[in-house]
Symmetry: C3
Subunit: 461 residues, 3 copies
């Protein structure tokens, strides 16, 4: 079985450059951790619940190799013994060779739990016990880990209708950790979302606006953004499968909105209204300063049987081609030259790095590129990203790194992998004569820390 | 002229890893060699007929440089002196610098024929004589070469209406070489195929089914698959230009089938029926265990003048973009979770490696990725493939290697190039700290041999 | 601030190979320098007018970082002090780290002006003075620089209606520098072009043909091509956003042309006529020998506010996906097998290198691939290009290099970067055992010089 704990190893100048980044605080401005963890600060239940069940990277690979999701304690298998779940991971651990999950989990075992033996069927039980015991101690409570990881800011992702109770509890707790929400209004922007009409109604209740009129709906969104901003939010986030934006005149937009609430729109009309609402969001960003994120190109839940049996986010979201030039045309021509605007673009279509996104970011003042996302947040993915965007976008049109994870314990490993990838890239730039060491060190600090603070306006907040 | 015999050279750990793979048997589960060679075991006629005329990689490059195909003995030039044909290759040999054809032919000269001088206009005559003489000896008959190459299994590709006489002859010959057919039913699945109605009729005759009714047609396909299976086939193969699958209810499919036979379908209806039939094939694979291969994205015969004058496969097949997510959606949602199903996907669109195919293979239990195909079966193509698929799909969702060649003598060189590419990749993984040498050796063996056996169910057959 | 003057540094064999290319003449067969410079041979006005204002690579990056174009002396800021403009560049110079602009400008400072200190806010004034003084000397007049740069041929790009006065002046001046025009008839080929009807009328006047009839229009184009050819032109150039070609019968084409002049065509009809006219151009190329260039895939002027305020070419042209297989199908099936035809294809969609263009160039006798273009004319862009095209197209289906620049002083640096990239590539080919040093040296000479001469038929002219 796999006999080495993986680590992206550095030498020479790359090692030196990494050393200068290694102790910088972690800025985690976009991710999917649960704010309840930090509000309640309860112990994590068990190794499987912590490391396997919430991590779709892990269980999708096991599923692809014939493991039933129920056997991993998911869906109808919820009551399954966590030790048995952990044993399955150990039995299939070599299947993860070459993947970032291997790197992240090895780092979690080694650096977070101090385990010095690789995971094998033989060591599985001892490792399980070690982790299980650690989780009972105060040092492994969420807040203690947050501090130990050196996280300066962590943003969660929260629906527009979320009660934000956990965030209020954190704010009122006296704890100094900075955990902030992100406004993710997909459910009330996309007429094709399930429960759209009901959610619009709830949006009205939450904000005291007449959300059934288009003007009231826009006001409700403004109010709701302000509620998030008051709790520390500096950004919004928008998931779109196929990117389209289109500016509609007020009357047309209002008419479509009325139809959306009645449920009488065609798919094409739904798309048009959604595309218009993204521009409305952008315009509100100009006014209230919230940084706008667009995550485009994930075809969600492509496996209907898994969606029916286990729900969303079960590893069947697959990337598709994205047209950034056409898709953002209307939005950028509306707000892209506005100095108040900040738009961060995340793609799953690497072919757009050099062809579309880097040229766009190297032109539009409002646009910066998010880091390699999801399947591309990996050693090679980071190398391809830097190889393909820097020559046209430079380093100052990049948004630094964010981990985008729901696997809390992997956060340090993910940021460290990015920093190692950056160090490798910069060392090569120096070796090729393209920059000096001082510039490399400065850019390293920028990409590891400052760029994220700047892109997400975390200093101003 | 070109003064070196090309060889992808290895050093250090890569050399060690390659050495551990170099003597493994060759598994060649997908290709286009002629089973008649192994049935009759006759001497190959001459160097041009063996090395140039059947190899579209070779003559397409010469054609691009202004050489008329007739001068290479093709089409109306069939009677041309093979030595003159060989001289043309020699005169243009430097045009192949940097291409895999150079590697493959140099290896053929050096390793198969024991020639130690590079091909030049000056050496052409001596090399021609050397090869011509060798071909007259028993050691260079097809079966002797098969054995000398260390091929454990070789699958040919055979039309659904093929009489399979050669395969029956091989099976009845007492020779122990394992040469098996592959079921390639494009001509009777795609209503746009020339002679579709006539071929459906012949399918009925060959199987004793009423192939004019939809139910009888499906039964005929089942029977025909079984005939192939009895001769050792473990797989089917399907070429599609633009990938689309769609499940139709039985009545609709039957109605379209009736129209297809009458020749009354629109292009769109032809597409729909073809897309449905791919799913029928997949369902039959669940039942009879034949592994399903899909080769998608080659626009065939794009040069009409060459098609008219020389027929198909003349070097004018060009890749196009492929949408794997949308194209396989219906098929995978029908059978992708079925543990009996095995689908191998081959793409000519490298942009789908990291964006679509690796994420899909890292999720669907039924799906594995075929190796770099056609233009991408090259040193850089192999490197890009491993760089882009492993991080998301791992190694265990890959189907190993197949040479897909009609150039029989290049088979060892093609497998060796893959093994060298794998060795380079794995040595770098070790060097970067991502795995240990034992894991690398194990994965090397998997990718060089075991994965193909497993993917094509060659052990079970 | 940035403390190193960037240079792509070479070692070992790559350095040797580069040394063999370094002194070859520069062939610049496609670019956008102004022929008036060479006709009048006046001094360049000032450093900002020479290095910043005409270079959209430079001002687009500054614009993306929040610098107003007016502050760079563009548009309404035309009267701005050039020293203040230069100071802005110096203040933002670190934003260019990692970009080819940094390489090109550093090389211009160092190699053209002999400046040995990096650009910083502190050195900006001294560097400005140094350049400004140099520009007043005879050594920095356009013709002197042309000779010093070792340019053997330089082609400009000239509209079909251009009066070509500058080119006639050069030809009549007795100066021996070879500066030739290129026929760029977009304005009279694309019915969607502004002023199409008026320009067709002017085309008739310039050529003495009845350009309002379709036959006369074709004759006028023939005559105009001949006028360019007489002034030394060896090529035409065609910019298309979305590549489509279609052969129309004479009656249909004539009917569409009549509608185009009346302005009564739909967008689709405009496209069809434009696609047909590209084939007419190709056929004229067969007759008159002018090499046809197609630059496809740039979405022009995507920022409407900049277009309105500053005009075209302001850094907002962004690449889009291109379909070369479908787009060239009709054209190549009309002339692609004709030995008189030469078509050079330039793409901004790198995904087409290995998937479409290399396979097409490795098949069609008429087709060669242009070098990495625009955003991809960079160290990594060159590496990706060679990595992805050579294995299928070889080296002899490539058109060498052209700088495609309007930044005259960067020409040596651009060609040198290409030569360094080629040297790196070839040294790696040798190191991997894929070719010997003699072959590498020969290919180096081909890619650095001979291929461009051959592709553009500069010897024959």
């Amino acid at each position: 079985m796999t006999g080495t704990m993986a680590e992206l190893r550095l030498k020479g100048l790359a090692k030196d450059l990494h050393a200068q980044m290694a102790d910088l605080p972690i800025v985690s401005p976009h991710g999917h951790t649960d704010p309840v963890w930090f509000a309640e600060n309860a112990a994590f239940p068990d190794p499987a619940a912590l490391l396997i069940k919430p991590d779709h990277y892990v269980f999708r690979m096991l599923y692809s190799q014939g493991v039933a999701l129920e056997d991993l304690g998911l869906g109808a298998g919820a009551g399954r013994d966590p030790r048995a779940v952990f044993d399955i991971l150990a039995a299939h651990w070599h299947k993860f060779l070459g993947t970032p999950s291997h790197l992240w989990l090895d780092a979690t075992f080694r650096d977070v739990f101090g385990i010095d033996m690789p995971l094998t069927p033989e060591t599985a039980s001892a490792i399980y016990d070690h982790i299980d015991a650690a989780l009972q101690t105060p040092e492994f409570r969420p807040r203690a880990l947050f501090e130990r990881f050196g996280i300066s800011t962590l943003a969660t992702t929260d629906g527009a209708l979320d009660d934000l109770r956990a965030h209020r509890a954190i704010a009122g707790s006296g704890w100094t950790g900075r955990v902030i929400p992100t406004f993710r209004p997909d459910a009330v922007l996309d007429p094709a979302a399930p429960d759209y009409a009901r959610d619009i109604e709830r949006l009205g209740e939450l904000t005291g606006q007449d959300s059934e009129s288009f003007a009231g709906y826009l006001d409700a969104l403004r109010v709701r953004r302000e509620m998030f901003r008051k709790l520390g939010a500096t950004a919004t986030d928008h998931a779109v499968t196929e990117l389209r934006t289109e500016w509609l005149d007020h009357a047309t937009a209002g008419r479509l909105f009325a139809g959306a609430i009645k449920g009488s729109l065609t798919a094409r009309e739904q798309d048009r209204l959604h595309g218009h609402m993204l521009i409305e969001m952008a315009q509100m960003s100009c006014d209230d300063g919230l940084v706008m994120q667009i995550h485009a190109g994930s075809q969600r839940s492509t496996n209907q049987a898994l969606l029916d049996g286990f729900g969303k986010d079960m590893g069947a979201d697959i990337p598709r081609r994205t047209d950034w030039v056409g898709g953002l045309d209307a939005l950028l021509n509306r707000v892209g030259n506005d100095s108040r605007m900040r738009l961060l673009a995340f793609t799953l279509d690497e072919t757009t790095y050099a062809r579309e996104l880097a040229p766009m970011a190297g032109h539009w003042p409002a646009l910066r590129l998010g880091p390699p996302w999801w399947f591309h947040d990996s050693a090679n993915g980071i190398a391809r990203y830097l190889d393909q965007v820097v020559e046209t976008a430079g380093y100052w049109n990049l948004a630094g790194f964010n981990d985008d994870t729901r696997a809390f314990l992997s956060i340090p490993a993910r940021h460290d992998l990015w920093r190692r990838g950056v160090a490798l890239h910069l060392a090569e730039q120096c070796d090729r004569g393209l920059m000096g060491r001082d510039d490399a060190a400065r850019i390293g600090r920028w990409l590891a820390h400052d760029a994220a603070v700047d892109a997400y306006r975390l200093d101003a907040a």
